[in-house]
């Protein structure tokens, strides 16, 4: 099994580390930063020895890998995915850019025609957030609303995308149609798992709704918000004032799914607190494992399209990603019981 990982930034380098636990015989690691590529390749080689053939050559279409993981900066993922699917590879993309996600979802007919798997947004949010939404929905009879909140960033490219997202418009699914909303509007206070706590969250150019809507077409409302400070909002229309951190963690996700169970309205709230680059790397590796095992569906879609989120979350737990559920109890009701 030959896997190629393109992009060795903050998330990509964590993906590389996680890939060593998969049943692969050949691993191609590529980054435009040659120094970083050598550093990651030597670290992985030292860890696995001769068990995996580590290569630093960029893979070619004449010898396509079985799976190509796109962990490069956002913007070119649809074009890269299309060329690799045409070459015969399965593709796992870690993008969090809405334009990229829209472009990747448009490749669904090509992927189905070629019997390839294209996993879209296999990172922290989207990615882990889609899994949480899918698992929460599995506890309900029907889904009326899904709200996704995310906080924190991975590496510099993730931070730049986070900065862009706050000034761009985002789409929400409301009563059967897409509604465009201004970035930075719609403040809501979201409580993330401890010790991350509460953060003000705002609308932005976030791709989670477009990945969740095809899976939950009957939902009346699907929205996503991102945590931001007053300074973030004030400077969102400017270029980034200073270079982003090499890792913007820790971060968190909160997913609320409201629906009906046994005729009563219920809300299931799940969350994760982790370093986004670490968790994204783990999610990408688990998604790649599912593609290798042919458990991911043929065609293009996010992780919410997978039929068994429990198995994926169990594997993520084994690899150190901890999911939490929020259970609020009214004191008055608890006292009566």
């Amino acid at each position: 099994m030959h896997v190629a990982l393109l992009g060795l930034g903050a998330a990509g380098s964590h993906v590389a580390r996680q890939l060593t636990q998969l049943p692969i015989s050949r691993l191609s690691l590529h980054d435009i930063d040659r120094q970083r590529q050598r550093r990651v390749a030597s670290a992985i080689t030292a860890a696995v020895g001769d068990d995996i053939d580590i290569s630093s050559e960029r893979p070619t279409a004449s010898d396509p890998p079985d799976v190509v993981i796109l962990a490069t900066p956002s913007g070119r993922h649809p074009r890269l995915a299309e060329s690799w699917i045409r070459a015969g590879s399965h593709v796992v993309s870690i993008t969090d850019d809405p334009d990229d996600v829209a472009g990747l979802l448009e490749l669904a007919p090509l992927a189905e025609h070629n019997q390839r798997r294209l996993v879209v947004g296999a990172g922290f949010a989207p990615g882990l957030s889609c899994l949480l939404a899918s698992y929460a929905a599995s506890q309900l009879d029907s889904v009326d609303a899904i709200n996704v909140y995310k906080a924190g960033t991975g590496g510099p490219n993730c931070a730049r995308q986070h900065h862009r997202a706050l000034k761009q418009t985002g789409s929400e699914w409301i009563d059967g149609k897409w509604v465009v909303r201004r970035g930075g509007s719609g403040r809501e206070l979201a409580w993330f798992p401890d010790p991350f706590g509460a953060r003000d969250c705002y609308r932005g150019a976030l791709p989670s709704p477009m990945l969740l809507q095809p899976v939950f077409p009957a939902a009346q409302r699907i929205s996503a918000r991102m945590a931001a400070t007053r300074r973030d909002r004030l400077t969102s229309w400017l270029p980034m004032m200073r270079p982003p951190h090499s890792d913007g963690g820790p971060g968190a996700i909160r997913v609320e799914v409201r629906g009906q169970r046994d005729g009563a309205i219920e809300t299931v709230i799940l969350g994760v607190m982790d370093h986004p680059s670490v968790a994204a790397g783990t999610v990408t590796a688990v998604a790649t494992a599912a593609v290798i095992a042919e458990q991911a569906p043929i065609g293009a879609g996010g992780l919410a399209t997978w039929s068994n989120p429990k198995a994926v979350l169990t594997e993520l737990y084994r690899r150190g990603v901890r999911v939490a559920s929020f259970n609020g109890v009214l004191a008055a009701i608890a006292a009566e019981e």
């Binding site: 698992y135 798992p193 401890d194 799940l270 969350g271 429990k310 979350l313 169990t314 737990y317 084994r318 901890r322 999911v323 939490a324 559920s325 929020f326 259970n327 609020g328 109890v329 009214l330 004191a331 008055a332 608890a334």
Partner: protein
Amino acid sequence: MLTLARRVIMAFGLTGLIAALFRLRGTGGVPPQGGGWREVTPSDLE
């Protein structure tokens, strides 16, 4: 002028009275007083 001042005082007084009634007698629900985040373990996922 005196009538206007009297009406303004009356309006503010009524507003304050109604607000106080809502504040003291309102039933806006009780926010969650207990519970919290709990780790989801593999046994919960089975």
